[in-house]
Symmetry: C2
Subunit: 298 residues, 2 copies
Amino acid sequence: MKDTHHKKNEEYFIEKYLKPLSKKNESFPIPNGDDSSMINFNSLISVDSFVEGQHFPKDLGPFFIGYRSIAVAASDILAMGAKPEGCLLSITINKPSDEWFEEFSNGINEFLEQHKMSLLGGDITKGNLNIGVTVVGKINNKVLKRDGAKVNENIFISGTLGRGYLGRLEYKELDTKLNHFLMPKIPIHDIDKIREVASSCIDVSDGFLIDLKRILISSKVGADIFLNENFCTNGKEDLICGDDYVLCFTSNLDEKDLTKMLPDAHYVGKITKEQKLDVFDQKKNRLNFNKLGWDSFI
Amino acid sequence: MKDTHHKKNEEYFIEKYLKPLSKKNESFPIPNGDDSSMINFNSLISVDSFVEGQHFPKDLGPFFIGYRSIAVAASDILAMGAKPEGCLLSITINKPSDEWFEEFSNGINEFLEQHKMSLLGGDITKGNLNIGVTVVGKINNKVLKRDGAKVNENIFISGTLGRGYLGRLEYKELDTKLNHFLMPKIPIHDIDKIREVASSCIDVSDGFLIDLKRILISSKVGADIFLNENFCTNGKEDLICGDDYVLCFTSNLDEKDLTKMLPDAHYVGKITKEQKLDVFDQKKNRLNFNKLGWDSFI
């Protein structure tokens, strides 16, 4: 039997750079390498694609492409009130090299280690750089959906807005470890508490206003938002810039009780009956926005 | 609240063409549209990417791009001895249009309906055409892996080889419904029986010899293959052409008992102790191959 591993084909890169990231345990009883992976729990699942030039700049290092892709995809599992536990990668790349894969898999590994996640499988294909990430998480008695917001509930975000936007603008200057665009921080340590108190939840990826609007449409309610510099990094534009990966959730808890429980969280507004979304500054003036967030097609 | 649905953005195409394909049931209790999808069973999961120019020709119609992508991805779940039940799509496309999405979603729907599957979620991104498919299936007491083949067992394939190769060569001439490249037929009706009798299994996607070799490596055994025109469409090249999506499996059943149970299946050879792979023609001459199958990078 001929050994094809000296040729740098799909198997070569999978064996060398991806398989070492997989962990066999009770939840994932089959090690990476068969046709499918096995998940031994009732699960949440989400997919996301990351395209060069769209989701990250062309000159971004593979370490950050890897780290950022998993972080952003994992955020969708948090948004449903669960912890991400495993992921699969579908990598399309024109010229795979050891240098690229070493950096890339280091970035993936850094995120997986920090978040106690495992790589479950994947494939590698020739073509323009496109990172497809599938993330799974274990359901923990309650699932947070978008349709649970109720009139008079308070709206909270799990952290400040605009850090990803700042990181994207200054991604060459900022210390990479502090750059929320290159290495998004997702609120994994708060998720058990948020699941307890939230009636609806979404992650802020495309922009706070457009993502909040998705809750409002699903829940058939409206909202008044009270802009406050306490929860912004740059200014008013933080409401629509996206790349935040904080959670936006609704709860009947009042501001004081909630921030005692979740010190990083901020009160941002109130759910209203009329199905419209208004934003006010601290002087009670209504603010206007040309768009509510980011869409790759418009 | 402004309705952005008149703009043809990601949400427009998801709402109009993808959401109608999702079905809510006991296994998938949350309808398509939240951040993640919920799976209410212990599952197998697999991902695959399909790139224009690599996996399908540039001028292929969107109906077949859709049908073929799901079929090929679903084959990996069958290979583990389970039925595919749901899928998620991650579509990267430069210029989405209603025409494209209508044809594409019809192709997806045709496959999903035929195989009683549901669409669980997905995303759409701007970039060069790349269809990422995640498929999940329910585990049915036994999982077929690659490492279970034992010396002296027989090797079978669930159908004839070379039909996908012929369909790819003649994809403009052949009746599309009969074209195994455009609309691969996966052996979903045989899987319950195959699971019962097989000790190891893989789907033939890259080429019969390269895929069989993966079983041999995992199982630490070898094989003698006896080429026979009964299980070929074109000739010797069918052993390495790929695009077959039949299952290759090992079993201690003899040829007669197995083909009584699975009339479309063929005996193709025997598992041997020595870790090498030999192919013989009907005159017992050993055949040589320059390569064992397809790899997008070599």
